[in-house]
């Protein structure tokens, strides 16, 4: 070889070597930090700061305040019954994102995750013919998504898994992403683990001393696994974070640690991620969840006026019917503008829409259930808003599918029901002929506190809280024909 060739080879080797070293450093510095924290330590030294806190995705240092709000995502989802490995699966499918890649990633990864679980030796060895899988959306807000996978292995054994995403990039979230950078996560998880496991052993007779050792053992094992990076399965709702490990679940009540919770704001994107956000509430108070509905018109107008209005149904509609519902919504918004000018008012109206036929013509019936609570403006927050928020933020009330306004004292409420009919053909309201005033007097003379028909042209103006004599029967006017109620607990103010 000539001298020049040798020089060239040397320079070439050095050049490649430098590039290789630079590439190694770059790759290693960008490695995703996993959630493990090694607990093995020498002697009694205090462990180093966990790399878990140094999170390239989330450097948020400020948690939420209780006055903060969030927006519901425009992501849509539906469930499809299918089979994977001959196991019945209720499979979630998401749609409605502008980024098809992210949408595809979520749907594909969900299916692959389920397949992996069902292919595992653990499932094969511990499942029987009663096995099935369900998936559910636990959170769909603030541009994040949380999916829970529930796998029933057998009658006595089931496990939960989670898939959690930020919707701007489609990347998976880690547990640390739910918290601010310097949150005392171990403290939080220890407390939550103790409560969660204690409730597992609690009975109607109370807590037996014999079980405390089990509880402490369960807590310590869970934290050992957490410190070893083995707690990776989780899901979250607007209220709670659920950590899963080998059939055990630890539930963290986020509101207890709100100053450390970052998930409401950490991944909110400035770009439009969704094909549509029509009908979605945009400013919902944090740690509060909204019922499933077609349209959510929740709005905290100002410090003394709140609208809690939804339009919901349990039926499927054609495009023409959907247009009619949209028109009703427009009319409703127009009517609500009058309420928005009031002070000291919490207005609730959960409207159920259903199909019907009248005079051979397809119509839609909107059953309105109005309820007001009002007081002097300066008392609104203490007497009305805060108690309702307390009920909203209590996860034990999650199954209560009426407005939480009904957690207020009955004496504070003015309720009324009404029906509006809209023609599917014209999409316009079908105005009712006014009833004979003599018929109304007869009804009043019954003495029963029956619900009154709402004047279909105007929403009644809210009045100051009525005296107790006005509600002799003690029953709310909305006792009948209201959405199914399943009160499981009372809120104690």
């Amino acid at each position: 070889m000539s001298r020049n060739t040798k020089i060239f080879l040397v320079v070439f080797s050095i050049f490649l070597g430098v590039i290789t070293v630079a590439a190694i450093f770059y790759k290693n510095s960008n490695k995703t930090i996993n959630e493990s924290q090694i607990i093995i330590e020498s002697g009694q030294k205090i462990p180093n700061l966990s790399k878990e806190n140094i999170n390239n995705q989330n450097m948020v240092t400020k948690g939420v305040s209780l006055n903060d709000t969030y927006a519901v995502n425009g992501l849509k989802y539906e469930y499809e019954k299918t089979e994977i490995n001959d196991i019945e699966v209720n499979l979630l499918k998401v749609s409605g994102l502008n980024n098809d890649n992210v949408e595809e990633t979520i749907n594909t990864e969900l299916k692959e995750r389920i397949k992996k679980i069902l292919d595992s030796n653990n499932f094969k060895n511990n499942s029987d013919e009663s096995a099935y899988v369900t998936t559910s959306v636990e959170s769909n807000f603030s541009d994040v998504l949380s999916i829970k996978i529930f796998v029933k292995f057998s009658e006595s054994y089931n496990k939960c898994y989670g898939l959690n995403y930020r919707l701007d990039t489609g990347e998976r979230l880690k547990i640390s992403d739910l918290f601010v950078y310097n949150a005392p996560k171990k403290n939080i998880i220890s407390e939550a683990a103790y409560k969660s496991f204690a409730l597992n052993y609690y009975t109607e007779e109370g807590m037996s001393n014999d079980f405390y050792t089990n509880i402490e053992g369960d807590v310590l094992e869970f934290l050992i696994d957490y410190n070893n990076g083995k707690i990776t399965e989780f899901a979250f709702t607007p209220f709670t974070i659920e950590l899963y490990r080998e059939g055990k679940t630890v539930v963290i009540d986020m509101i207890d640690y709100y100053q450390y919770i970052s998930i409401y704001c950490a991944f909110v994107s400035s770009s439009g991620l969704y094909e549509s956000t029509t009908g979605l509430a945009q400013k919902i108070p944090v740690f509060m969840t909204r019922p499933d509905c077609m349209y959510d018109l929740y709005e905290k107008v100002n410090d003394t006026c709140v609208l809690d209005v939804i339009i919901y149904t349990d039926e499927e509609f054609t495009d023409a019917e959907k247009k009619t519902i949209a028109n009703y919504r427009k009319d409703l918004v127009s009517r609500l503008s009058g309420v928005k000018t009031e002070k000291g008012v919490y207005y609730s109206n959960y409207i159920k829409v259903s199909k019907s036929v009248e005079n051979g013509e397809k119509i839609l019936i909107f059953e309105e259930n109005e309820c007001f609570a009002s007081c002097e403006g300066n008392l609104f927050e203490d007497n009305i808003y805060n108690p309702i928020m307390s009920a909203e933020r209590n996860k034990n009330n999650i199954d209560f599918d009426r407005s939480k306004i009904y957690f207020l004292d009955e004496n504070m409420l003015i309720s009324s029901m009404g029906i509006k009919k809209y023609s599917v053909k014209t999409t316009e309201e079908i105005k009712e002929v006014e009833e004979n005033p003599e018929d109304e007097e007869e009804e009043d003379n019954n003495g029963d506190e029956e619900e009154n028909e709402v004047d279909n042209s105007v929403i009644p103006s809210p009045t100051i809280i009525p005296s107790p004599e006005d509600s002799e029967e003690g029953e709310s006017n909305s006792a009948n024909d209201v959405p199914a109620v399943n009160i499981t607990t009372e809120v104690i103010f």
């Binding site: 590039i19 290789t20 462990p47 005392p184 405390y212």
Partner: protein, 323 residues
Amino acid sequence: MRKNFSVMLPVIIMIAVAIICILVYLIGTGQIKFNKSILNKTENSNVLNNSNGTNVILARNELPRLDASVVTQPLMTSVVRNFVCDDELSDTIFNYSDTDEALRKLLNDEVDAVICPYPSDDVLSLASAQGIELDITPIAKEGFVFFVNSNNPVDSIKVSDVQKIYIGEINNWSQVGGNNINIKAFQRPDNSITQREMHNLVMKGLPMIDAPKDVFIDKIYGEITDLIADYDNSENGIGYAYYTEAKLLYDFDAKIDNTVKLLRINDIEPNYDTIKDNSYPFVAQYYLIKNKNNQSEHLEIFVNALLSERGKNAIKEAGYIDE
């Protein structure tokens, strides 16, 4: 031909350099790993390596049946991982019981050895009744520590003051140099090993006040008021635990918000040196307990390894103090 070779040689060298760089990159970024145990494995288990790179002492199927107390789990796990080839370990080997249950299993010959605190009188009586002589060997110790919220201005407390707090004689932090706020003295349930240690090591027979209780609303049971409260790191709280237990459960790092801090007792900080030389007042001892009549060869290998320098290092790595 020679001319062709001299032309090809630089190209061959360049390709070789490129391949070497690619391999170095893949190894450096962890995308290729060498499994030492595959390279070194032979039929003789003594040349297997564990993740520490040291020779294994026992193969998985040679390991004695072991159990540990909840508070000695990290110790046992560290020791077993050190002694046995990691590739052969599974989580089932670490399925530990609590102290009394583990010792009962020992007496019933369901396990060969247990690492735990000193057995209770009940267990010793049971062993005696069954004619079983226990071999109890001290192998490790650690501090029994007290902790408060890091914002609590109190950094040190006397042994007598700890006792007075827990018998109710001191009930305000201002009485021990802190803020004027009532002390919330958290405890552990009566039958927990930590509570037993508190009685034996700290209170020494003095009766403790009632433990604070949690109050919360449950969906199924309604209002629950009788659950012993868990340490919540409130500004007026004080709690206690074994040192390793505390480090597992709580955040002590000063960079984290609202952390927990250990209290000095009689102005002595709990650390390796003060616990090793017993100058820290509250030192908890752990023992390897086995049936004296158990002559298993593998058990003897395990015990000898545990008491050797290697065993002591494994104990230290787990955060405990070797004996």
